[in-house]
Assembly symmetry: C2
Homo-oligomer: 344 residues x 2
């Protein structure tokens, strides 16, 4: 199959134009294009242009406002910065809140950005990297829809609740992890179903709450948390902090609201920023230099730092452009020509 190589900026223009054609305003379209192109650039295909249709499907279903303009509630004198996404996507809300969060974290040493009333479908590493790019460490989490049973339970209740963290590195891509707190992503179960392959043990329960390796039964049942009761506890913590504490929906409430897992979920997001310089002030050693010693020790024994494959793909894309298949180009052309009418 023939392939087309596009410079990152050209891909961005094309994706942004698709969102504009579909009726998104410029703040929504620009921010969405940035995260989707970043995913494609990093060879993170599951969060690349593949996601455009899901976002548009959610627009078409009336579950996200294409013309929302996020509103900043700076809450002077607090370590909490809030942005209300006004029913739009989380990404423009994050872009609006980031500079205030950065300023607040530098001033106070520690600050949080709360995004409320947003639809969130992207990975969390764009948020994490927004912070590491400002020499801050960051912890980011959000609920999802109820598809995961708590350990010892038998029904979907928790979301796949992603948990992401980043630490800035000088002259290098940051230390970043970003993972689902389920043992596997829902998409991986779907891939096993399509390939008629049994699941590894410990991934899922069937609708009766019994362990299953049948992907079909798993999709009708519940996924399991990673790491047994510990992952289940972390998933619960995310419901509490990034759902209930911030006054936004929990994963079961998201599923009730949407009635499906085929649309992008509507909930909130919690971003905590730490200033290593403020925390380390007055103590021996430079925290960034000391972190490099730790990273060298990890890599030196043959272990990997997370996200390295993504950063390698990014360097390649930045030098050579992004490679798309003809099918992908055709899909972009179709979306650009027909807007929401291309969504069935």
């Amino acid at each position: 199959m023939s392939e087309t190589t596009l410079p990152i900026s050209a891909l961005h223009e094309r994706v942004e134009a698709i969102f504009r054609k579909a009726g998104l305003n410029s703040v929504q379209a620009g921010a969405l294009a940035r995260v989707i192109v970043a995913g494609e650039r990093d060879a993170c295909k599951s969060h690349g242009i593949y996601r455009i249709e899901g976002a548009l499907r959610t627009v078409k279903a009336g579950k996200v406002k294409p013309d929302a303009v996020p509103e900043l509630e700076p809450q002077e004198g607090s370590a909490i910065v809030k942005v209300n996404a006004k029913g739009g996507f989380a990404n423009p809300a994050f872009e609006l809140g980031l500079p205030v969060l950065v300023e607040r974290a530098r001033a106070l040493g520690l600050a949080a950005l709360v995004i409320n009333d947003c639809t969130h479908f992207s990975a969390l590493w764009p948020e994490v990297e927004g912070l590491t790019g400002e020499r801050l460490a960051g912890l980011v989490m959000c609920p999802s829809y109820a598809t995961v049973a708590p350990t010892g339970g038998n029904k979907p209740l928790l979301g796949t609740n992603p948990f992401a963290f980043g630490w800035p590195r000088e002259g290098k891509p940051p230390y970043v992890f970003d993972f689902a707190t389920s043992v596997a992503a829902r998409g991986e179960i779907e891939l096993h179903r399509r390939a008629s392959k049994p699941l590894p043990e410990g991934w899922a329960l069937d609708a009766k709450g019994n362990p299953t390796t049948d992907p079909e039964a798993a999709l009708a049942g519940a996924m399991l948390p990673f790491g047994g009761h510990k992952g289940s506890a972390i998933g619960t913590m995310i419901e509490l902090l990034a759902g209930i504490m911030i006054g936004d929906l929990t994963s079961p409430e998201v599923l009730d609201y949407l009635g499906t897992t085929t649309l992008a979920p509507f909930h909130g997001e919690l971003i905590v920023a730490f200033s290593p310089e403020a925390f380390a002030a007055g103590r021996p050693g430079n925290p960034f230099a000391r972190a490099e010693v730790l990273f060298e020790a990890i890599v030196g024994q043959g272990a990997r730092l997370p996200s390295q494959r993504r950063f390698a793909a990014r360097a390649k894309s930045e030098a050579e452009g992004v490679v798309l298949t003809q099918a992908e180009i055709d899909q972009l052309d179709r979306l650009l020509a027909f807007g929401l009418d291309a969504i069935v």
Copy 2:
């Protein structure tokens, strides 16, 4: 074997007297007695009176200062509160910092307590419960000594790095988890060794970095993180935030400093406090009432909330006193009579 039942207050007096006899000043002895008696009260035997000898061994080895007086560095205008433990135990430093942390978290919505230059041997749930008792949510973490290989690696580098979280509940014990980020605690491997029982697969590597189920080989090798690369990433995050960021030792540095894992580790600790009331302000619903709905849904499907066994034991101990074996009573008597001379 005969058993003795002691009221909690009587056990506290006895444990505090032991620490005083061993030369600890009153702030150190009081705080240590509180966490050790809390462990015993909660039937958390691994953090109960069993720990007295280890604490005293560390005193005798000159690796913790028995007469340290922690110093508060309140850092007005910051979301960071610091306490320098001055080479003493972490527990009196936490007690000193807690009221300031609580005040700061209520005022700013979010605040952190950093404890530096401390010896830490207790569980983290006493810190978590210090926060939940003030209607705050809390996240607590610290390094340990290097005994855990990062996923994909083959040598000890990370610590068992505990990760703890709590959410306040009205009229009930809080939601609390507190776990090692290794797949098992080092003590569990030791128990398998004593019982000549093989370890479950996936717990450990031998000194050559190969998987092993031999407890002896595991103790000479490395433990593995819980949950594969995800747990490994969380363990690394704890080294970064609760070691490097706060300007204190990482797990490999702790092991270098102590030269052994038989003494209590010297490092720092990070406690992050969130005010659910501040975060939820202006949003629909009461966060504490909403959390109860989540907890009911977890329990309602047969799953357990963490720490429930501990809280049940606590209620029993508070009503009936703490039951000790004759061997335990004899040990307390011996420690009280001979102080540090009882430690070999």
